[in-house]
C-alpha cells in the first residue's frame, strides 16, 4: 500500500540525536527479531509431531491439550504445520524480496547514474512490467510454466523488482545533483566504486523501508498464490495451501481455516508496523 511517492527522500545529513534514535530503534527491532527466531527454533525442536505425516486415528480433532490448534482432515497437527509453514511463507518471501531488491536496485542505479539511453530503455521496460497487475502476472507466469514452488518464486521476483528500480532511480537522480558525487566523478573513481561508496549508502534507509513493505506484501502474495493452487503445492505445510485444505471442512472444523489465516495476518501486521515505525524515524529529519 505504500506508494513510491510517499516514501522518504534521501536521508539528509542530520544531527546526531536523530541518528541515535534510529539506531536504537534498529537495535531494539533486531533484538525482538532474534528473540522471536529463538522461540521459533525452540518450537521446531519441541513439537512432537511431524508436519506431513498423516495420522488417521486423530482426524479433525478440535483444539485441545494434545493438539493445541486441532488436527486437519489427515490427522496432522495444525500448530506444527503452522510453525513449519512460517518457513515457507516468511522464508520464501525473504528470498524473493531480496532477489527483487538486488535486481531492482542494480537497474535503478544504472538508470539514474548511467547513460541516458539506458535510463530511457530501462524505465520503459519498468513501465511495461508495472502495467501487469501483480497477481495476474504471477498467476500467468507460474500457471503457464507449471505450478511449483520454483516457478512461483520466479514469477514473484519478476513482478516485484520494478518498485525497487523506480525508487532507486528517483533517489539516485536526486543524489546525482549533489556536489560530493560531482567530486567523486572529478576524482575519476570507477563507475562501480561511485555506486558502491557514494550512492548505495545514501539509498539504504529508503530501500529498507520499501523492503520491509515488499516483504510483507510478498507473504500475502505467496499465500494467495498457494491458495489458488499456483504456489507451494500440498502436502507441504504452507499457510495458503492449508486454508484450501481447510475450506472443505468449513462447517465442521472452522479452526482449520481460522488459524492459518491468523498466522498470515499477525506476521504481515508485525512487518508492516516495523516498516511504519522505520519510516517515521527516517522521515522526521526531512520534515
Amino acid at each position: 500500500m505504500t506508494d513510491i511517492e510517499t516514501l522518504p527522500s534521501v536521508y539528509e545529513g542530520s544531527d546526531g540525536a536523530e541518528l541515535t534514535a534510529l539506531r536504537r530503534f534498529l537495535i531494539r527491532t533486531g533484538i525482538g527479531i532474534m528473540v522471536f527466531l529463538g522461540l521459533y527454533a525452540m518450537a521446531l525442536l519441541l513439537t512432537p509431531y511431524d508436519p506431513n505425516t498423516a495420522d488417521f486415528l486423530s482426524r479433525l480433532q478440535s483444539p485441545g491439550a494434545a493438539h493445541w490448534l486441532g488436527t486437519d482432515h489427515l490427522g496432522r497437527d495444525v500448530a506444527t504445520r503452522i510453525i513449519y509453514g512460517a518457513g515457507w511463507s516468511v522464508g520464501l518471501a525473504l528470498v524473493i524480496s531480496v532477489c527483487g531488491a538486488v535486481i531492482g536496485v542494480l537497474i535503478g542505479l544504472c538508470a539514474g547514474a548511467g547513460p541516458q539511453w539506458f535510463d530511457r530503455l530501462s524505465m520503459r521496460t519498468t513501465d511495461s512490467f508495472f502495467a501487469f497487475p501483480e497477481l495476474i502476472a504471477a498467476i500467468a507466469i507460474s500457471g503457464i510454466l507449471g505450478p511449483s514452488t520454483g516457478n512461483m518464486v520466479l514469477a514473484l521476483v519478476m513482478v516485484s523488482w520494478m518498485r525497487y528500480a523506480r525508487l532507486t532511480r528517483s533517489l539516485t537522480l536526486v543524489l546525482n545533483q549533489k556536489d560530493f558525487i560531482v567530486q567523486a566523478r572529478l576524482n575519476r573513481l570507477p563507475f562501480w566504486l561511485i555506486l558502491w561508496r557514494h550512492f548505495l549508502p545514501n539509498l539504504r534507509l529508503g530501500l529498507l523501508v520499501l523492503w520491509t513493505n515488499m516483504w510483507s506484501r510478498t507473504i500475502l502474495s505467496i499465500s494467495g498464490l498457494s491458495f489458488l493452487g499456483f504456489g507451494v503445492q500440498p502436502p507441504q505445510a504452507e499457510w495458503g495451501a492449508m486454508l484450501v485444505d481447510g475450506k472443505a471442512y468449513m462447517l465442521t472444523a472452522p479452526y482449520l481455516m481460522i488459524f492459518p489465516g491468523l498466522a498470515v495476518l499477525i506476521t504481515v501486521l508485525a512487518l508492516n508496523l516495523i516498516g511504519d515505525q522505520l519510516r517515521d524515524h527516517i522521515q522526521k529529519p526531512v520534515d
Binding site: 536521508y11 545529513g13 544531527d15 560530493f180 560531482v182 567530486q183 566523478r185 576524482n187 575519476r188 573513481l189
Partner: protein
C-alpha cells in the same frame, strides 16, 4: 600556467559564455566576479570538463604536463587542478568518514595504505585540522571544519591550481575570516595559483592579483586589481565598486577619503 583563449559555451543554441580569455600564472590569484547568472559557474564547470565548450582553447603548462584542449575534447578534471565547492556539507558524502573523502582524491595515485594515510594527515595539518578528525562523519564536524576538510581534499593531490567556488558564502563572518586566512596561508606556503569565484569585492581587493568581471556570459573587465579599483574600464564595474563602498564591504581608497570628508562637512 593556465590559459583560456576565446572560450565559448553553447547549450541548445543558446550562448552561455562568449569569447572568454584569461591567463593564470603560477602564484597568481585571479578573482572571477559577477552577479548570479553571469556564467561564473558555467565557466568553472567547463574548465573541469563537466560541460563541453564549442569554441576556443584551454591550454595548460604545468611541471609535469603540457596540453591543449580543443572543442569536442572529452576530459574530466584537469591534472594539477583541484576544486573547492561552495557548501562543504553538500560536497561531502554524509555517510563517509571525512578522512576517506580526502583519500579518494589520491585514488589514481595507487599509493600504499600507509603512505596514503600520511598524505591525508599532512593535508589535514596544512589546513590546521587535527588528523584525528579524519574518522568523523561530516555531520560530526562544524561547518568551518568541514570547509577545511574540503580544502584539505583539494590540497592532498598537490595541485598547482585550486579553483574556489565561493568558498566563504556558506559560512558566518567569524568562520569566513578564519577560512580566508587558511586559504591565503597555504597559497604562499605552496606557491599555488587560485581561480577564485566570489561576490565579495572586499575579499577580491585584499587577495586578488587580477580581476575578471563577467556579465551575461561576456567579459566586462579583465584588469589587475589596483587598476580595476582605481580606474575601472567599464561602467558596470564602477557601479559595482560604488555599491560595495556604500554597503561598507569595501574600504574607500585613501585618496578619496578627504573628498568624502569635505563633502560631508
Amino acid at each position: 600556467m593556465l590559459a583560456v583563449n576565446s572560450l565559448c559555451v553553447d547549450v541548445s543554441s543558446q550562448r552561455l559564455l562568449d569569447d572568454i580569455s584569461f591567463t593564470l600564472k603560477p602564484g597568481e590569484c585571479l578573482c572571477i566576479v559577477g552577479e548570479s547568472g553571469s556564467g561564473k559557474t558555467t565557466l568553472l564547470k567547463t574548465l573541469l570538463g563537466l560541460m563541453p565548450f564549442s569554441q576556443g582553447q584551454i591550454s595548460y603548462q604545468f611541471a609535469e604536463e603540457d596540453c591543449q584542449l580543443n572543442p569536442g575534447h572529452q576530459y574530466l578534471g584537469l591534472p594539477g587542478v583541484s576544486w573547492v565547492m561552495q557548501n562543504p556539507l553538500a560536497a561531502l558524502n554524509p555517510l563517509q568518514p571525512v578522512g576517506r573523502a580526502v583519500a579518494e582524491s589520491l585514488y589514481h595515485k595507487s599509493l600504499s595504505k600507509q603512505k596514503e594515510a600520511e598524505r591525508v594527515a599532512a593535508a589535514f595539518r596544512k589546513v590546521e585540522l587535527s588528523p584525528e578528525l579524519a574518522r568523523r562523519l561530516p555531520s560530526q564536524l562544524s561547518i568551518g571544519q568541514a570547509q577545511r576538510v574540503c580544502i584539505a581534499r583539494a590540497l592532498v593531490c598537490l595541485p598547482e591550481v585550486i579553483i574556489f567556488d565561493e568558498p566563504l558564502s556558506a559560512l558566518d563572518a567569524v568562520v569566513q575570516k578564519q577560512i580566508a586566512w587558511v586559504i591565503d596561508g597555504i597559497k604562499t606556503a605552496h606557491r599555488l595559483s587560485y581561480l577564485f569565484v566570489t561576490h565579495d569585492l572586499g575579499f577580491a581587493d585584499a587577495y586578488a592579483d587580477k580581476i575578471l568581471l563577467l556579465r551575461d556570459g561576456c567579459v566586462e573587465a579583465y584588469q589587475p586589481v589596483e587598476e580595476f579599483f582605481s580606474a575601472p574600464t567599464s561602467d558596470y564595474g564602477a557601479e559595482l565598486i560604488e555599491a560595495a563602498r556604500i554597503l561598507g564591504s569595501l574600504d574607500a581608497p585613501a585618496a578619496m577619503a578627504p573628498v568624502l570628508l569635505e563633502a560631508s562637512a
